[in-house]
């Protein structure tokens, strides 16, 4: 096989792997390729409706725009870039730590620089493809209503996808050099989570501190932002100009992204082999004196302590939890600002907190109930399954109480009634999320946490609707109590339907 043919063959192999990984994620590991493809097409078609609602009013936008619009558009593009960067960092980390084929590749006579170049390109294309998939309905609507100049949007999406992948690879390689392989996994995962949410949250924090609102657009559309914004011909606005149909700038951006990716491939691909070797040679973490944790107490206490210890030592979960906590930062700041008693917007905090509690509880409940790495051990332990389940649910409740109690206590000083409603709603949202996980439990490894939402679509939707429903109920209880009754009943109905169709019930 010639060198080119060999590279092409390996590229095909990489894309097949990427496709199957994606398919497994979409179908929860079940072989339903046709259904997944049809589902995807239906989803893409349906996405045109919200896309129409969001972008139809902007079809006549042309450069030059007023400063506020330019800032909002640029910020939106930057947000997309940050999200793609987050996704790409996650992909790169997975390539280093989770692929089972590295030993095979490293021991093969293939030229490793070429192999890793293709792998970098595959990451870039995967990230860009996902971005294209999600942005296509929006661009379609703009092209249909506003003309072909909006086709430039595809180029912009591709450019930001390629540049985000290049940046992700550079960031990960930099982390390897600076902090070593063992810490890179943790730090990269946290960085990935923080980048994904950080930009939106930062905007909200600024909005809360400056304008007393949770709206992230408050700062972007303010006079202050317009005053400090660069001149209209600045490079900063190039992505916005390109997305508005400036073909020349779009091509320049695309070319720059390709060059950036090419440089990253040329510089970092040869070092990948060393990096992979250093990951493999990474010594195991040493932990002194922790066994004491299990030495006293009942069997349920041993189970609870085990769950807490595993949660604390799970860097991936740490990053996921951190993201949930980051979302709590703006409402916490809002709370702090509202102590003066001048703002009525404090009511908004309750649904945010309840929703965060429901989502966090869902994740924790999955980890404790389904994500059991030694199911045989626990199943053969001399205690009834009901007590095992109870111990695991207690872990979720304790964790949620630890995280949210300080916020509820702080809320008590501002409004005891709101604090009481919030506390009750947190408990109900947590119990609902745990119940959904119990009804839909499917034994899995903790490392499969990322795929938990694909193992049961019904469970995912039930969990999300329950969190949203209880958040809305809590907000309505504080403003329109009669409506809260309706919302509460609807949420209970959602849970009842989920229970009825769950495998536990069937």
């Amino acid at each position: 096989m010639s060198s080119t043919a060999h590279l092409t063959w390996f590229a095909r192999h990489e894309f097949r792997l990427a496709w199957r990984e994606w398919l497994a994620m979409m179908t929860g590991g079940r072989r339903r390729r046709n259904r997944a493809v049809i589902g995807l097409l239906v989803f893409a078609a349906i996405l045109h409706l919200p896309a129409y609602a969001v972008v139809a009013r902007y079809v006549d936008l042309r450069f030059p725009l007023d400063p506020s619009s330019l800032i909002v558009l640029t910020a939106t593009i930057f947000l997309s870039w940050a999200l793609m960067l987050s996704q790409a960092i996650e992909s790169v980390t997975r390539v280093f730590y989770a692929r089972a084929d590295l030993d095979l590749i490293m021991s093969s006579p293939a030229k490793l620089t070429n192999i890793f170049s293709i792998r970098i390109a595959a990451i870039a294309l995967t990230v860009s493809s996902m971005a294209l998939l999600l942005s296509t309905p929006f661009i379609d609507v703009l092209v249909y209503l506003g003309g072909p100049r909006w086709l430039a949007g595809f180029g912009v999406v591709l450019a930001i996808g390629l540049s985000a992948a290049a940046a992700a690879i550079a960031v990960t390689a930099f982390l390897f050099r600076v902090i070593g392989p063992s810490r890179t996994r943790l730090v990269a995962q946290i960085v990935s989570a923080v980048i994904g949410a950080g930009f939106v949250i930062a905007l909200q924090v600024v909005a809360v501190l400056s304008y007393g609102t949770l709206s992230r657009f408050a700062f972007l559309t303010s006079d202050t932002a317009a005053r400090i914004a660069p001149a209209p011909d600045s490079l900063v606005w190039w992505p916005a100009r390109a997305s508005l149909g400036d073909l020349e700038i779009m091509l320049l951006l695309l070319a720059a992204s390709l060059v950036l990716l090419g440089v990253v491939m040329a510089v970092l691909a040869p070092r990948f082999a060393d990096t992979v070797a250093s990951v493999a040679a990474n010594p195991a973490a040493v932990t002194q004196g922790r066994a004491r944790a299990f030495r006293s107490g009942s069997r349920q206490q041993a189970l609870r302590r085990k769950e807490f210890l595993l949660l604390r030592r799970d860097p991936w979960l740490l990053s996921q939890s951190l993201m949930q906590m980051l979302y709590l930062l703006p409402p916490a700041l809002m709370l702090w600002r509202s102590f003066s008693g001048t703002s009525t917007a404090i009511v908004l905090i309750t649904p945010v907190i309840v929703m965060a509690a429901g989502q966090l509880a869902g994740g924790l409940a999955w980890l404790t109930i389904s994500g059991e790495d030694a199911p045989d051990l626990v199943a053969t332990a001399p205690l009834p399954p009901s007590r095992v389940t109870r111990a695991k649910i207690e872990v979720v409740l304790i964790a949620i109480a630890t995280v949210f109690a300080p916020l509820v206590v702080a809320l008590t000083f501002a409004s005891p009634q709101q604090a009481a409603v919030t506390a009750i709603a947190i408990i109900i949202a947590t119990a609902s999320a745990a119940a959904v996980q119990l009804w839909f439990r499917a034994q899995a490894k903790r490392s499969q946490f990322r795929r938990r939402q694909t193992s049961s679509r019904i469970a995912t939707f039930a969990e999300a609707f329950s969190s949203i429903g209880w958040a809305a109920t809590a907000a309505l209880a504080l403003t329109i109590p009669v409506a809260a009754l309706v919302s509460g009943i609807l949420t209970l109905l959602t849970l009842a339907i989920a229970w009825k169709i769950s495998p536990r019930q069937a």
Partner: protein
């Protein structure tokens, strides 16, 4: 003879998936016996043992463990039993010592005795240099040893092992075999499945051969030879002959 004298008594044990995996199996294993359960792939060995360990609910039949009805009182049965699967399932984020302490906690063992016992077990299995390392970097053999130590830390009276020697190096395998024989000497009963027939030949007091979910032969090595009509044959030859005959009959 009452069932209290048996470490394990199975009567009419049945489990069906798409086809019968275990077919009205009767099996009796005496206290203090080292019993090797052999059979080709898919014969129903693991299914049988998983039902005994309480990991699978049988469709029919009974399971008695040292006189305890394991289906009626699974907690009491589990208290005196240990299960080690062929795929060691341990917690990556715990150290071996922590894992054993956790197992001891689950079985409600006095912490003062479990700590010493855990340490000694791990040392005897050659894991002393790794006592405080998290299991995430361990090889399959090391993980298997940790899982085995976990099964022994609560001093079970019946130990069920599914392919315990898979992935172990020669020295580790010898450690494990020594440890199991030591337990048998102290009155513990060991039931083990293995595809390494030499191990069964050397270690087992009695051997059972299972095929298509049914026990097709059972006895000491000498008894099996007698049943086979040849005194000089190896267990491997007898096993292959038995399985071939069964397959031909099916």
């Amino acid at each position: 003879m009452t069932s209290q004298l048996y470490a394990l008594a199975l009567r009419g044990l049945t489990k069906r998936f798409d086809r019968p995996a275990v077919d009205a199996l009767d099996l009796t294993i005496r206290v203090g016996e080292f019993y090797a359960l052999l059979g080709p792939n898919g014969a129903g060995k693991t299914t049988t043992l998983r039902m005994v360990a309480g990991l699978l609910r049988p469709d029919a039949g009974s399971v008695s463990i040292l006189g305890i009805d394991a289906l009626a009182d699974p907690v009491a049965a589990k208290q005196i039993m240990a299960w080690v699967s062929d795929e060691p399932m341990i917690y990556d984020k715990l150290t071996p010592l922590e894992y054993l302490e956790f197992v001891a906690g689950l079985w409600g063992i006095d912490p003062r005795t479990s700590e010493k016992s855990a340490r000694n077990l791990l040392i005897s299995l050659g894991l002393e240099p790794h006592l405080n390392e998290r299991c995430e970097g361990f090889s399959k053999g090391m993980r298997q040893k940790v899982a085995l130590a976990g099964a022994l830390v609560h001093d079970p009276r019946l130990i069920i092992l599914d392919e315990p020697l898979t992935g172990l190096d020669a020295l580790s395998a010898r450690h494990v075999k020594g440890l199991l024989q030591e337990r048998v000497r102290t009155g513990c009963t060991v039931i083990m499945t293995t595809h390494i027939l030499e191990v069964a030949e050397r270690m087992a007091d009695r051997i059972g051969v299972i095929a298509s979910g049914r026990l097709i032969a059972e006895g000491t090595l000498a008894e099996l030879r007698e049943q086979n009509g040849r005194n000089d044959t190896t267990l491997e030859d007898m096993f292959i002959a038995l399985v071939d005959t069964e397959a031909a009959a099916a």
